[in-house]
């Protein structure tokens, strides 16, 4: 009955072609984990930075898990979206990272990628926006045949997570 607190924030993102961005996020865990309190998914506001390339969200994450096993350690999956001047939203990147397994403060930069479509799709993307998206976003953190997917690298999302672990040592997990 070990407990894990994940307290932190999604600071922002940089390195994307445009910078009016927002982010959808979620935490995926295995079956051994129980969410005691907190929201395990959410969406940030759209940030339109006036200066600089980095979009800041400072979106809080505060989760409290109880677990009966180590399998399925929490993973954070992210989707960065771009909202253009017409208010249209399009996908700019998928990314995922493991929640750190050592207690303390962690600064994580999560790189993101975006599926690359056929050349027609790419051409359309240049002129009218939009673009290919994953049919099932679960693929971000699962699936084996991923090498068939052609992707292009997008920017990075900065995260700051504080990890508090409790009673893991009781079950022989050194933290």
């Amino acid at each position: 009955m070990a407990e894990l607190h994940i307290i932190g924030q999604i600071i922002g993102a940089s390195g994307f072609p445009e910078n009016s961005l927002f982010c959808k996020w979620g935490v995926h865990t295995g079956g051994a984990w129980r969410l005691l309190s907190g929201l395990k998914e959410g969406q940030t506001q759209v940030d339109l930075p006036q200066i600089g390339d980095m979009a800041y969200w400072s979106h809080p994450i505060d989760l409290h898990y109880a677990t009966k096993g180590l399998q399925g350690w929490p993973k954070l999956h992210l989707q960065v979206w771009h909202q253009d001047s017409f208010g249209r939203c399009q996908l700019y990147g998928y990314g995922y990272c493991h929640v750190p397994s050592s207690p303390g403060h962690h600064r994580i930069s999560c790189v993101t990628w975006r599926p690359l479509g056929s050349w027609q799709e790419q051409l359309a993307q240049i002129f009218v926006g939009g673009g290919p998206q994953l049919r099932s976003p679960d693929l971000i953190y699962s699936g084996a045949d991923r090498y068939r997917l052609h992707t292009e690298a997008m920017g990075t999302v900065e995260l700051e997570l504080g990890i508090i672990m409790r009673h893991f040592d009781k079950y022989g997990v050194d933290s």
């Binding site: 009955m1 070990a2 295995g30 079956g31 051994a32 129980r34 969410l35 005691l36 309190s37 907190g38 409290h64 109880a66 677990t67 009966k68 096993g69 180590l70 399998q71 399925g72 084996a144 045949d145 090498y147 009781k170 079950y171």
Partner: protein, 1442 residues
């Protein structure tokens, strides 16, 4: 090339700098010959510096440069540099005017020079030119061929027979079933040529099949890895190279090959040290250190939990043994025995450790007591965990029994073994005896073995004794609570001033000392820590990290602890730290503790115990101990990490091998994908499809696998298993996880379950969460089905209440999610930027004349509810004025008149009671009392039937459970009671001696207005004139209008009856009312209709924001329904229609009354503001609760079935806010009905509570009010005028024929008189009890006679519909009760539950009469209407005998 030219240029420059102009000229000329520059750059010319540069020469120079260009390939750079040099340094003389002459002169000069050359060196004299010797290829070939050195193999096929040894037939291994790999493809011609050549060479190169021996084709058909796209970018960082300059490293003595980046770094982290003994320890410190050590030991033991493991193992072994015994019979027990012994020893250790801890703690306590001061902060708590006595005892006995059985078995076995041995020995002995006997004749032989002794029988009785003894020694006694020691360092240390002198000296000595640590690397001091003073707890914290940049291979790292006293320092101890492995990096290593000690002998004359000095804690000085200075140094040494996380450690010598194993099967991976490898079927498929050679040794493993798989030995499981191996690695079971109370509490709080929604602090420890927390919650879950009839008095209503609660719960759950959806406006508060117009208006306002006597109400800042606490919120109630308060009537009018007329003319009328009225003096002295949440405040007393108070009352408000969230505030069910009383002063007697009069004030209830808090909350303010609910009969008061009143109100007042009060109510600070939930509901309506209704409502809201417009509503199932579907003629109960067969007017009134008798329950309260749900009429009549809309719909439907023209009005009223009324058209005038009170108003009635009319609804259409005014008085209700009313269905969008959601006919339950009577008795009983309860200090007497009289009046009142027809019965009452002063009134309420009735009775304050001779009368009458609608009358009176 470039560098060369540069250096050349440089050298040229140097030359130039060094040489004289002449010599330079010379050198340049040399160069000119080399570069063939001579023609253009004339040395003569070049030499002249004094002539300025001319344009034409420059042109010439350029020409020269161009001509030279073809030679660039050979020495372009040189040329370039030379050209550049020329360009920058040379000065060219201008061309003379006659160019031809100059050129001829030049030529001449050149010729001269050539001639000179020829004469001096003529090579032709020594050399001779010859042709190169050459033999043509053909000739060569021919020559070779002639000498037969070459062999040209033919390309014809060689017969097999030649290739094989003689008399051998070719053998084909493939045919024989052996594996032969596929040969690499070679063209036939080539093969033939090769074969021919090999035959010529006569070497054995042919296999048995007559073909050249060949290895299988090594080339794979397909690529084994997925294609790489960006070769350069995706290069593995480990493979990337970086250019580094050559660098000189003075001493590269590290074992590894000299790395150019040879700076390694060792991080030495010196955290601190703790003394386990120090010469300056006092006795208490010694004990404290021992205690801490023991506690540490205890903790580690506890952590390892050896005893527990061993016990588990023992139990496992025992059960295994039992199984074995069952199967095989007796077997060896040794392992169990060993384990048990181990376990016992561990248990004993545990026990002694605990005992020791307690013992040391006791010693410390004793010492502290003895020395009268405390030196150490240690405190030991022993936490008791109680155990179940019975089960514990059972366990204890079981354990002993098991052990005894084992021991018995063991000794039995031992015995058996010994016995067997004995028997064997006996046999041997007998044999030898016999032999001896036989050989006795032959002479004395060696002595035979002695006769063996039979083994002793084991003593089973003593075993149990022994086991018990041992158990009592090493184990907890059964039932004894488990002691868990907890050591904390939170105690107080006695201040120095309170200590004896020796102790003070010791402490001072401690304070003088300081410590530092020197770090020696390879026996050289490299660094030292700051010197830190010794703390009283003998811990020193350094917390310093030293980064040692090293070049030499580390041999030793030594930390020396020094102690400093004043200026002298001494080495205390040395600690050698091992050199870390290269994999040990900074950040990943925990601090290690190294023990050190010193054998210095130190003695003190103060309290310090010294070192290497015998010390005793016993009183008699025995049991001496010698303690040496010792301690633990916590530090760690690791290799540093440089930038980019590169470890600054020497490389690890061996590389992990076996990286590329298993690559052979990668084709399969590319074929079926990585995941497919686990799928037997796919592999099999692939194997058959790719015609995998079963004989290929490479494929043998796959073939094996397939064979095994197909044979069925290993079957792939049919099911798919998520999270494999989860079970095996679980920490705890699911049940245990579920059982955790703390987790449950946390989750319930997170789910916002009502009981835990605002639970503040959840304890951190499991044992601190008690089961008590869940009691309420579990009770609620359990009692969901049980119906509490006590609260509701009526089983039907109890059922309904439960049903309502269920709906409520489901609705709330539905909205819980929706509540977490936010809009921008929920999160961002943006003050509106004032437009130019408003700005101008404000400026204009500045110029307005100030009117201090007419203050304006200002908009206040709104406060969100979350940061409020008890006492922050106040209810402000401004009582302004009242109209037409009932006036007192003389007690006995007739009597008065008689007195007046028949008394003697001279008699003063003052003596006659009630004469005030006659003279129009004090008719009534009303005051207002406001009660809310049992806080009661009152205004001053005013005079007359039209009093003006203008007073503000502040009532505190507290939310339930201190929860000030919007949802919670919306569900507050409290109501504000505004009661009007008359203050009556009676003279009780006159004290004639002093000239004073004793008076007693009594208050008589005249009427009340009640306003629910939820209305105030949602409206944020209530401002208006309300009709006061006056009882139908007010004994002693008349509702006749006061005569001769001036003022223009008379005309208006004539249209309405009753008293009115003007109030203003608001909440301070202003709260943000909760908003209704925005959620799209699914609907069965046509999509087109929904869109149209949305458009209609949007247009309405834009055009007239203050007029409510509803076209769709939500039914109880949570579906959107068009509003007209609710309107349908429905039959009222037949009994009501039969009551007045000839008087339709009366029947209408009765129907309205019936509807108003159904209790009102605002949706806002029941659904916590979530939404407005509309129930259909049959649902409404079943639930017997609903808000104004349901009442209005029902009333409207009744009216329609009675043949009236009726509409539903959607509008706003006071105090309800947005509500629904009913409009009827009768006798060419419009009537507005308030469905919840049953009252009706004319269109032009001043005191009509309806303020604005938004829209009208009937079964066919919805009309929105687009007139200038929305007040019913100033508008027209003629819906046919399109200019005034905008219809929803028009010609362009016609009515699609919507069917009604209402039933065709309503079925009513019959009147149940018996139940009503029963209820009546119960209410009466409860009320009487309550009144007595409210008068705890006074006796409450009941006047039975009066009660029976009152009881007879009540049914009459019900029949009359509560209208004032009480004149008769008052007289009756008066005559019956004679000289009793009686005040009282009937209360009328629709019945829902008992609580509102009690509240209403309480608010009248009848029980407050303090007079000693007061008597009470209480009568209750419940009149049943069809369908269990009940009308409750409570007649309450107080009688004072005068």
């Amino acid at each position: 090339g470039l560098s060369f030219s540069q250096s050349k240029g440089e050298s040229l420059q140097q030359e130039e700098a060094l040489l004289e102009p002449a010599s330079r000229l010379q050198s340049l000329r040399d160069r000119d010959t080399v570069t063939r520059f001579d023609r253009e750059v004339d040395p003569d010319r070049a030499g002249r510096h004094d002539v300025p540069l001319d344009l034409s020469t420059r042109v010439k120079f350029r020409e020269a440069a161009r001509r030279v260009r073809p030679k660039k390939q050979t020495n372009s750079f040189m040329y370039k540099s030379f050209e550049a040099y020329n360009f920058f340094t040379f000065n060219f003389e201008p061309d003379p005017q006659d160019g031809s002459e100059r050129s001829s002169r030049k030529r001449k000069k050149l010729k001269k020079a050539e001639d000179l050359f020829v004469i001096e060196q003529s090579s032709q004299d020594f050399l001779e030119v010859r042709k190169a010797e050459y033999v043509g290829y053909r000739k060569l070939i021919q020559r070779e061929r002639e000498s037969e050195l070459f062999f040209t193999p033919s390309f014809r096929t060689v017969p097999t027979s030649i290739k094989l040894p003689e008399n051998m037939k070719p053998r084909y291994l493939e045919d024989e079933g052996l594996y032969v790999g596929e040969r690499p493809p070679v063209s036939l011609t080539n093969e033939n040529i090769l074969e021919n050549r090999i035959l010529k060479m006569e070497e054995k190169w042919f296999g048995d099949d007559g073909r050249i021996m060949a290895l299988p084709d090594p080339i794979k058909e397909s690529s084994t890895r997925p294609p790489l796209f960006h070769m350069e970018e995706d290069l593995d960082p480990a493979l990337q190279t970086v250019y580094r300059k050559v660098r000189y490293t003075p001493t590269a003595t590290l074992r590894s090959p000299p790395d150019p980046e040879g700076d390694y770094q060792l991080d030495v982290d010196v955290s601190g040290l703790i003394f386990s003994h120090h010469p300056l320890f006092s006795r208490e410190h010694v004990l404290g250190a021992r205690l801490a050590q023991l506690y540490d030991q205890y903790l580690t033991r506890q952590h390892n939990n050896l005893t527990g493991h061993l016990t588990d193992k023992l139990n496992g072994l025992r059960s295994a043994l039992r199984n074995m015994l069952e199967i095989h019979g007796g077997q060896s027990l040794t392992q169990a025995i060993n384990t048990r012994q181990l376990r016992d020893s561990e248990q004993e250790k545990d026990r002694t450790l605990l005992k020791n801890i307690v013992k040391v703690w006791k010693e410390i306590k004793a010492l502290r007591e003895f020395q009268k001061f405390t030196n150490t902060p240690y405190k030991l708590y022993l936490r008791r965990e109680t155990v179940d006595q019975a089960s514990d005892e059972q366990e204890y006995e079981d354990e002993i029994f098991a052990e005894v059985v084992e021991l018995e078995a063991e000794s039995e076995e031992d015995y058996q073994r010994k016995l067997a041995e004995y028997k064997k020995q006996l046999e041997e002995w007998k044999l030898s005896r016999r032999k001896q006997e036989l050989s006795e004749s032959e002479g004395p032989l060696e002595e035979g073995p002695p006769k063996p002794e039979p083994p002793e029988k084991p003593d089973f009785d003593s075993i149990e004794q022994r086991v018990r003894e041992k158990a009592s020694r090493i184990r907890r006694k059964p039932g004894e609570s488990i002691l868990i020691p907890e050591l904390s360092a939170s105690g107080n240390i006695t201040a120095s001033e309170l200590c004896p002198k020796a102790e003070i000296a010791r402490r001072e000595d401690v304070a003088r000392r300081s410590l530092f640590i020197k770090i020696l690397y390879n026996d050289k001091e490299v660094s030292r820590t700051d010197s830190r003073s010794l703390n009283t707890d003998f811990r020193v914290h350094f917390g310093q990290i030293f980064n040692l940049k090293i070049v030499n291979c580390p041999q030793s790292i030594n930390l020396q602890v020094f102690e400093e006293i004043g200026s002298s320092c001494s080495l205390l101890a040395q600690v050698f730290v091992p050199v870390p492995e290269p994999s040990v990096l900074t950040g990943g290593v925990p601090l290690e503790e190294f023990e050190f000690s010193s054998n210095q002998r130190v003695m003190f004359d103060h309290e310090g115990v010294g070192s290497d000095v015998p010390l005793s804690f016993e009183a008699d000085g025995s049991n001496k101990q010698t303690l040496l200075t010792s301690g633990k140094l916590s530090c760690c040494v690791s290799w540093g990490i440089g930038e980019d996380d590169v470890p600054l450690a020497p490389p690890v010598s061996q590389q992990p091998g076996g990286m590329h194993s298993g690559l052979g099967r990668l084709d399969a991976v590319s074929y079926i994908g990585a995941s497919g490898l686990y799928d037997m079927k796919k592999i099999g498929e692939w194997a058959t499809q790719s015609r995998l050679d079963p004989n290929d040794p490479k494929n043998s493993s796959i073939m094996q696998l397939l064979k095994v798989a197909s044979s069925g030995e290993v079957t792939a499981p049919e099911y798919f298993r998520l999270e494999q191996l989860q079970e095996e690695f679980n920490f705890v079971t699911d049940e245990e996880l579920e059982r955790s109370r703390r987790f449950r509490l946390l989750r319930l709080r997170n789910q916002e379950v009502a009981e835990f929604r605002n639970y503040k602090c959840v304890p951190a420890l499991e044992r601190e969460v008690t089961d008590k927390v869940f009691q309420d919650y579990e009770k609620r879950l359990k009692e969901g089905e049980i119906i509490d009839t006590k609260e509701h008095l009526d089983s039907h209503r109890a059922l309904v209440a439960k049903y309502l609660q269920k709906i409520q719960e489901s609705v709330i759950n539905r909205f819980l999610l929706a509540k977490h959806h936010y809009l921008l406006s929920d999160l961002v508060v943006e003050e509106e930027i004032p437009s130019i117009g408003i700005l101008g208006l404000n400026l204009f306002k500045l110029a307005e004349p100030k009117r201090p006597l007419k203050p304006q109400r200002k908009e206040r800042k709104k406060v969100t509810a979350q940061n409020l606490s008890d006492g922050d919120i106040k209810l402000l109630i401004n009582i302004i004025r009242a109209y037409d308060i009932p006036v007192r009537r003389p007690q006995s009018k007739m009597l008065n008149f008689i007195c007046f007329y028949f008394s003697k003319p001279g008699q003063s009328p003052q003596t006659i009671q009630g004469s005030d009225w006659l003279f129009g003096q004090v008719q009534v002295r009303p005051f207002v009392e406001v009660s809310f949440q049992r806080t009661v405040l009152q205004t001053t007393t005013a005079d007359g039937p039209n009093p003006c108070w203008n007073e503000e009352l502040q009532l505190p408000f507290s939310a339930p459970n201190g929860d000030y969230s919007t949802a919670s505030l919306q569900s507050v069910k409290d109501e504000v009671f505004i009661n009007i009383f008359d203050e009556v002063v009676y003279e009780t007697g006159t004290d004639k001696d002093r000239g004073t009069t004793h008076t007693r004030a009594e208050k008589h209830w005249l009427g009340s207005v009640k306003i629910p808090f939820s209305t105030i909350y949602s409206q944020s303010r209530i401002d208006g004139t309300f009709k006061v609910n006056t009882p139908a009969v007010l004994l002693g008061y008349s509702k006749e209008r006061s005569h001769g009143n001036s003022g223009g109100y008379d005309i208006l007042r004539s249209l309405s009856e009753g008293a009115f009060i003007t109030v203003f109510i608001t909440i301070e600070p202003q709260l943000v009312p909760g908003e209704s939930i925005r959620e799209k509901f699914d609907s069965q309506e046509d999509e087109r209709l929904l869109q149209a209704s949305e458009r209609f409502e949007r247009d309405a809201a834009q055009g007239y924001p203050d007029r409510p417009c509803i076209t769709t509503v939500i039914d109880l199932n949570g579906k959107t329904v068009f509003i007209t579907r609710y309107i349908r003629p429905l039959n009222p109960p037949q009994e009501l229609l039969d009551a007045y067969p000839n008087n339709p007017q009366e029947a209408t009134g009765l129907v309205a009354r019936f509807v108003s008798l159904i209790p009102s329950l605002p949706d806002r309260v029941s659904f916590s503001g979530a939404c407005d749900l509309w129930s259909t009429c049959d649902q409404f009549l079943t639930l017997l609760a609903g808000d104004e809309e349901e009442h209005a719909v029902l009333l409207c439907n009744f009216f329609l079935s009675m043949g009236k023209k009726a509409w539903l009005i959607i509008g706003t009223a006071i105090p309800e806010g947005p509500t629904a009324y009913v409009l009827t058209f009768e006798q060419s005038r419009y009537l507005i009905w308030n469905p919840s009170s049953g009252q009706y108003y004319g269109q032009y009635d001043t005191f009509c509570p309806l303020q604005t009319v938004g829209c009208l609804v009937n079964a066919d259409n919805v009309w929105f009010n687009v007139q200038e005014y929305a007040s019913p008085m100033r508008m027209s209700f003629d819906t046919t005028k399109a200019k005034l009313w905008k219809p929803f269905f028009s010609r362009s969008f016609s009515h699609p024929g919507l069917s009604s959601v209402q039933p065709e006919e309503l079925v009513y339950r019959r009147v149940d008189k018996a139940a009503a009577t029963e209820l009546q008795d119960r209410i009466e009983k409860i009320l009487k009890e309550k009144i007595m309860e409210w008068r705890p200090r006074h006796p409450t007497r009941w006047n039975r006679y009066c009660t029976t009289t009152l009881k007879q009046f009540l049914p009459k009142l019900e029949l009359s519909g509560g209208r004032d027809m009480a004149e008769g019965h008052r007289h009756e009452l008066q005559s019956l009760l004679g000289d009793n002063r009686i005040s009282g009134f009937p209360l009328h309420l629709p019945f829902s539950e008992i609580r509102p009735i009690i509240e209403a009775v309480y608010s009248t304050g009848v029980h407050n009469i303090q007079a000693s001779n007061v008597e009470f009368a209480l009568a209750v009458y419940v009149h049943p209407y069809p369908n269990n609608v009940l009308s409750v009358w409570v007649y309450l009176a107080s009688l004072v005998r005068s």
